[in-house]
């Protein structure tokens, strides 16, 4: 009546490890699950749709005159800043949802399946890039409506968007780690905001660094968020690739290299 698992297992000897190929396939299947979930519960997308619209409007009209003389001159400064801030804030949700998801019975099944251990995490994180993409597109669209004309051209803007998505994905591993070790979803939200709020505001995202006191400039200049914002500005406003882009990508790689193993280990230990 059915092709039996036993026959298939007999043909394919039992092994105690998962190949890289299988890990990738499992992660993609889990990402597919994430996308299905988003489709089933579209209200999950409120934050990534409303926040870019709201923040872009608010910050531009509040700070525009004070910082750049008028709103139009402020757009090339604020749009990359808002973009980075919004998309990275969105990545907190990854940790929060992971915590909620892990409390449900279905994660037990994932753990009892002969799949790559990293797949449920990697899949969830991968599916969330769709959220970053939505936030990115909406922020640029809002800027465009308000009169932002990026001089770098569409291609560079797309690369800038991609850069932000990649970096946010890398940073989401940090929040995924919080998500795995925290006891409740709301505490994940709390911890993540405390980490992220100073990082995004103590940067060059909204105001020129020169206006800050020296000690603060020191921090702002080493803040990885500042490098990412500068890289996006370079790309979108002049189409150039500078040292900041390299630094951002290196930072992203380091975040993944440190937090992916930590997260997976914590996830495995937490039964």
């Amino acid at each position: 009546m059915k092709t039996t698992a036993l026959d298939r297992n007999a043909a394919r000897p039992l092994k105690n490890y998962t190949s890289f190929g299988q890990s990738v396939r499992n992660s993609l299947s889990m990402a597919y699950r994430g996308l299905l979930k988003i489709r089933r519960t579209p209200e999950q997308l409120f934050d990534v749709t409303l926040q870019p619209i709201l923040f872009t409007l608010m910050f531009t009209y509040i700070f525009g005159g004070a910082i750049s003389g008028n709103v139009h001159n402020y757009l090339p400064v604020i749009i990359p800043g808002i973009l980075v801030q919004t998309v990275i804030t969105t990545s907190i949700v990854t940790g929060v949802q992971l915590r909620e998801d892990m409390d449900k019975g279905v994660f037990d099944r994932f753990k009892s399946l002969p799949i790559a251990r990293i797949a449920p995490l990697a899949g969830a994180l991968l599916a969330d890039t769709i959220r970053y993409a939505i936030a990115t597109v909406l922020t640029f669209a809002m800027g465009y409506i308000m009169g932002y004309q990026p001089d770098g051209g569409l291609g560079s803007v797309a690369v800038a968007g991609l850069l932000v998505i990649v970096c946010s994905w890398a940073i989401s591993w940090i929040f995924a780690f919080f998500g795995v070790i925290a006891r409740t979803a709301s505490s994940v939200q709390g911890i993540s905001m405390i980490v992220l709020f100073p990082l995004t505001f103590l940067s060059n995202a909204f105001v020129p660094v020169k206006t800050m006191p020296d000690w603060l400039q020191w921090f702002v200049n080493i803040n990885p968020i500042s490098h990412l914002v500068t890289a996006v500005r370079d790309l979108a406003n002049s189409g150039t690739i500078g040292r900041d882009l390299t630094l951002s990508l290196v930072g992203a790689a380091v975040a993944v290299a440190v937090f992916a193993p930590l997260t997976v280990r914590a996830y495995m230990r937490r039964a």
């Binding site: 036993l6 105690n16 979930k37 519960t41 002969p114």
Partner: protein, 342 residues
């Protein structure tokens, strides 16, 4: 389902589960405190015990979901700690709380699990449709699980465990909270599984469920196996039914108990507020002697009834304490365990 086990796995004719001295503590709570289990391939094995006895923790360790603090466990000869990924290829787990995705539909759930197990896109869809048909869920296939009844959820959960047709299936309280009709359906499904060559290890709080399904039963209490044997062996040790006596004057209750224990030669339990004495009834003939003895002592009865054994009586007989009161000392339990093990 028509697979014929026996030659595909080297160990398929031997033990499906061999656990030795499994232990797991959560803080001060020794949830599982040295459990031994042997389950022969191709049988249904029941693990019987009240809430908090350690049933779920035991299953979670056997299913590689939880790492034992001590002891070893092998599934078809493969160590759950050292070769977990092999073990996972041999087992299916259906948890006490439906381990399926609430926000997705039944089909989507099964397709995702199938994909994860390495089935192709169309193969996964076919498999999902096939299982939904088999479990009578075809009509509800597209609806999100939020609207599923408890029974439908369990069936879907079980269906998900069978995608890879694993030779060993763990069912953690498969019928808790189900209505009698759905329970009977679940039983039929479990029996069918074993007919096709699978091994089933199930936990339950209900003696009649273990009685209906299991070839062998382990009674577990406070993280230890307190009795093990075939259904008949256990029944013989428990006594088939229990006798309940309610006295008219609650003052007589202790005296009644003494007489019951003397005449029937068994342990009894007393529920003082209800004025009730309960004792296992191994030999119905002795009840005549008991009633005569009670009349001679001048104890007047308000009610007398005979009940089929419940888990309470099993526990009373085997452990010497009821399900609720978990106070008596460890040594007493061990001593009784030796008495009760057949």
């Amino acid at each position: 389902m028509s697979h014929k086990p026996g030659n595909t796995f080297p160990h398929l004719d031997g033990w499906a589960v061999e656990a030795r001295g499994l232990k797991k503590a959560f803080g001060d709570n020794r949830a599982v405190d040295g459990v031994d289990l042997n389950v022969r391939a191709g049988t249904i094995y029941g693990v019987l015990g009240p809430n908090g006895a350690g049933k779920t923790t035991t299953i979670r360790m056997l299913a590689t979901l939880l790492r034992p603090d001590a002891g070893t466990a092998r599934i078809f000869g493969y160590d759950v700690v050292k070769e977990p990924q092999i073990v996972r290829q041999l087992i299916g787990v259906t948890g006490q709380y439906a381990s399926v995705d609430e926000s997705l539909s039944a089909t989507e759930n099964l397709v995702i699990f199938s994909r994860l197990l390495g089935l192709g896109r169309s193969e996964a869809k076919r498999k999902a449709a096939e299982l939904l048909e088999e479990f009578g869920l075809t009509e509800a296939a597209k609806r999100p699980l939020k609207n599923f009844s408890g029974g439908m959820r369990r069936r879907l959960d079980l269906a998900a465990s069978l995608i890879a047709q694993p030779p060993l299936i763990f069912l953690d309280e498969p019928t808790t909270g189900l209505d009698p009709r759905t329970r009977a359906q679940m039983w039929a499904t479990i029996r069918r599984l074993v007919e096709t060559g699978s091994t089933v290890l199930l936990t339950t709080q209900y003696l009649d469920e273990a009685d209906q399904l299991a070839d062998r039963i382990a009674v577990i209490d406070r993280g230890r196996v307190v009795a093990e044997g075939t259904v008949n062996e256990l029944k013989a040790s428990i006594g088939n039914s229990s006798l309940q006596l309610r006295v008219q004057d609650p003052q007589d209750i202790q005296r009644t108990r003494q007489i019951v224990e003397r005449v029937l030669q068994v342990r009894s339990s007393v529920s003082a507020e209800a004025g009730k004495v309960t004792a296992p009834m191994a030999d119905a003939d002795r009840v005549t002697d008991l009633l005569v003895a009670l009349r001679n002592e001048g104890i007047r009865l308000a009610e007398i009834s005979v009940q089929k054994p419940t888990l309470d009586e099993v526990f009373l007989t085997i452990t010497g304490h009821g399900v609720e009161e978990n106070q008596s000392s460890k040594t007493e339990t061990t001593e009784l365990m030796e008495e009760a093990t057949v």
